[in-house]
């Protein structure tokens, strides 16, 4: 359980995080969503006691981070990709962390196995790809078998296989009853993995709700229809109080009517239609709509949304096997 209460962080004149409050509950995956620069990483660093908030507080299982007895055994964090000394081997990096919290050496081998880095454990981290660095960061987070886990943009730099592996890992951790808090700037990714959402923009809370509610609320459906007689069809549709918008290619976008209804109306009016297709506004569009006013830096190209909804094996397997 993570509780954030009125947390505020100021850098000079900029309010990076502005009076932010939310809760992250155990047994589910909570997505932390916001455009780049919206304060996600700063918030996560404050939860982990790395940055001092100017106001407010964050607690983990009721305690401030600094008050945890065995921090790695209670909280695991992946905050930055490859924030690891490049000259040290993966094994020694994890072993040095393990020793601080009296975690046995066997556990280091275990988490290396879980993230699929056993074969490169003795290689220097500087030779690792970004994706391998992410896996090592995840291994460090799992080291103390903690009940609370924070992952900042865990899929950055991962290939599709790696992304799928992280999703399964997060779901597995959530099913085990742990508190899992994952940040992302991609709504489509959160729709696949998260159960609950905390959405921020410019350091302020925009929404806190179950993912299903967000999807239901934000999925605008409409029907695309193309015909040689657009004016007649528009007139016919508008008589039912549907909203009709003509698109650039001459097709009509119809809201508030199902595809069947549009087809029926066209048949009754004896208008030939050449295309009739129900459309769904993407979650990404809904997310952008929601955070539209709070985007600081535009022009970033997000990863193409991964539409792979299948999740064949809920079982966790070491990557690459």
């Amino acid at each position: 359980m993570i509780e954030v209460t009125g947390i505020t962080k100021r850098y000079g004149d900029t309010l990076a995080v502005d009076d932010l409050s939310f809760e992250v509950k155990p047994g589910q995956i909570t997505g932390f969503l916001g455009p780049n620069g919206s304060g996600k990483s700063t918030t996560m660093r404050m939860i982990m006691g790395l940055d001092n908030p100017d106001a407010g507080q964050a607690t983990i299982n009721g305690k401030a981070y600094g008050g945890l007895g065995w921090p790695l055994r209670e909280v695991g964090g992946l905050l930055e990709a490859k924030a690891i000394h490049p000259g040290r081997s993966a094994l020694n990096h994890l072993w040095a962390l393990a020793q601080t919290n009296d975690i046995p050496r066997s556990r280091v081998d275990e988490v290396l196995e879980v993230v699929g880095l056993t074969s490169v454990a003795r290689k220097r981290v500087g030779t690792f790809s970004l994706g391998m660095g992410q896996r090592l960061g995840i291994a460090a987070a799992l080291l103390g078998d903690p009940s609370v886990l924070l992952f900042d943009e865990p899929i950055n730099g991962l290939d599709p296989e790696g992304i799928r592996w992280v999703r399964n890992l997060l779901k597995g951790l959530g099913k085990e009853g742990r508190t899992v808090f994952v940040s992302s700037h991609l709504m489509s990714e959160m729709a696949l993995t998260a159960d609950h959402l905390v959405v921020i923009g410019r350091g302020r809370l925009i929404a806190e709700m179950p993912v299903s509610e967000f999807i239901a609320q934000s999925s605008q459906q409409f029907v695309r229809v193309r015909t040689n007689q657009p004016n007649e069809l528009r007139e016919a549709l508008q008589s039912t109080e549907a909203t009709v918008v003509e698109e650039e290619d001459g097709a009509l976008s119809v809201s508030d009517l199902s595809a069947e209804e549009v087809g029926d109306i066209a048949l009754i009016r004896q208008i030939v239609i050449h295309e009739l297709s129900p459309q769904l506004a993407s979650l990404e569009e809904a997310f952008m709509e929601l955070t539209h006013d709070s985007v600081d830096y535009r022009g970033e190209s997000g990863l193409s949304a991964d539409t792979d909804f299948e999740n064949k094996n809920g079982r966790l397997t070491p990557a690459g096997k």
């Binding site: 660093r45 982990m48 006691g49 790395l50 940055d51 001092n52 981070y65 600094g66 945890l68 007895g69 065995w70 921090p71 790695l72 055994r73 909280v75 964090g77 905050l79 930055e80 490859k82 924030a83 690891i84 000394h85 490049p86 000259g87 040290r88 081997s89 020694n92 990096h93 072993w95 040095a96 962390l97 020793q99 601080t100 919290n101 009296d102 975690i103 046995p104 556990r107 275990e110 196995e113 879980v114 460090a140 799992l142 103390g144 078998d145 890992l169 597995g172 951790l173 099913k175 085990e176 079982r315 966790l316 070491p318």
Partner: protein, 277 residues
């Protein structure tokens, strides 16, 4: 799921302990190449320059003036390389801290050990132990090699003579404390290049500036310079350093150096608690 959920034994006690943090820092310092290189450089430079200085003196001894012969301190001469070896050990002291900040490992470290003063103290302790052992090996090595070179043609010192053991052991102490001072500077400055510049500035540039001052002021300031203290610590005939700046006695000098190291570490620890990682 068996792979995630592990059967790690429950910890003994309610809280992480300094012993674990010390072990962790020992793993860290021995698992990067920069430790090996800076220590090899410390040994090579100190002994190499000692060999050079004693060889030169051995060859010109027959032509040396009476004044030179009267003030000749074979122990101090064989340890002359410490003045340069201190730069190499200082770089290790800096890297122990600055590499954590430079690479971002500091956040993983502080997530594991939220008690920042404890973290810094453990780093300082492990570094000091390494630097002291290597420093003493270097100092005794330079002494024995230097004396064997002098032995043929010039007077040479033996450990049993008054003040010699103190001076040679003092060389190792000097290296360790200066390295610790560099580590303290790095805990304040956090950047490798900045901290090394500051360290070199204090050691080498600052004395050059004081040379330009009137001698009354220079003598007072000069007493507090690490190089002056180090020179006194590694000399046997401390009262015979004719024309040199007046210096503290060896043990007082060591205490002053320890004070410097404690001061920068204290400030570094204080800042560490207040600053974002």
């Amino acid at each position: 799921m068996t792979l995630i959920t592990s059967t790690i034994p429950a910890p003994a006690g309610p809280h992480y302990r300094p012993a674990g943090v010390l072990r962790s820092e020992w793993t860290k310092i021995r698992s990067v190449r920069s430790t090996t290189w800076t220590l090899v450089a410390t040994i090579g430079i100190t002994i190499g320059i000692g060999v050079l200085a004693t060889s030169t003196e051995a060859s010109r001894w027959t032509h040396a003036s009476l004044a030179d012969r009267l003030t000749f301190d074979p122990t101090s001469l064989s340890l002359a390389g410490l003045l340069f070896g201190q730069l190499a050990i200082g770089i290790l002291g800096v890297l122990v801290i600055s590499a954590e900040y430079g690479t971002g490992t500091i956040r993983a470290s502080l997530a594991a050990i939220p008690n920042r003063p404890l973290f810094l103290a453990a780093k300082a302790a492990v570094f000091t132990a390494v630097a002291l052992i290597v420093g003493e090996i270097v100092s005794f090595g330079a002494f024995f090699i230097g004396q064997s070179i002098l032995g043929g043609s010039a007077p040479h010192a033996m450990l049993g003579q008054a003040g010699v053991l103190r001076a040679v052991a003092g060389g190792g102490l000097y290296l360790a404390v200066l390295g610790l001072f560099a580590l303290g500077l790095a805990s304040i400055i956090r950047h490798t290049a900045g901290a090394i510049s500051a360290f070199v500035g204090v050691l080498l540039i600052f004395p050059l500036i004081t040379q330009a001052l009137p001698s009354s002021i220079r003598d007072v300031i000069g007493k507090f310079e690490p190089a002056t203290i180090g020179n006194a610590m590694t000399s046997v005939n401390t009262h015979l350093q004719g024309g040199a700046i007046p210096a503290f006695s060896p043990w007082v000098g060591l205490a002053v150096l320890c004070g410097y190291a404690a001061a920068v570490l204290g400030i570094g620890g204080w800042l560490m608690v207040r600053r974002d990682a």
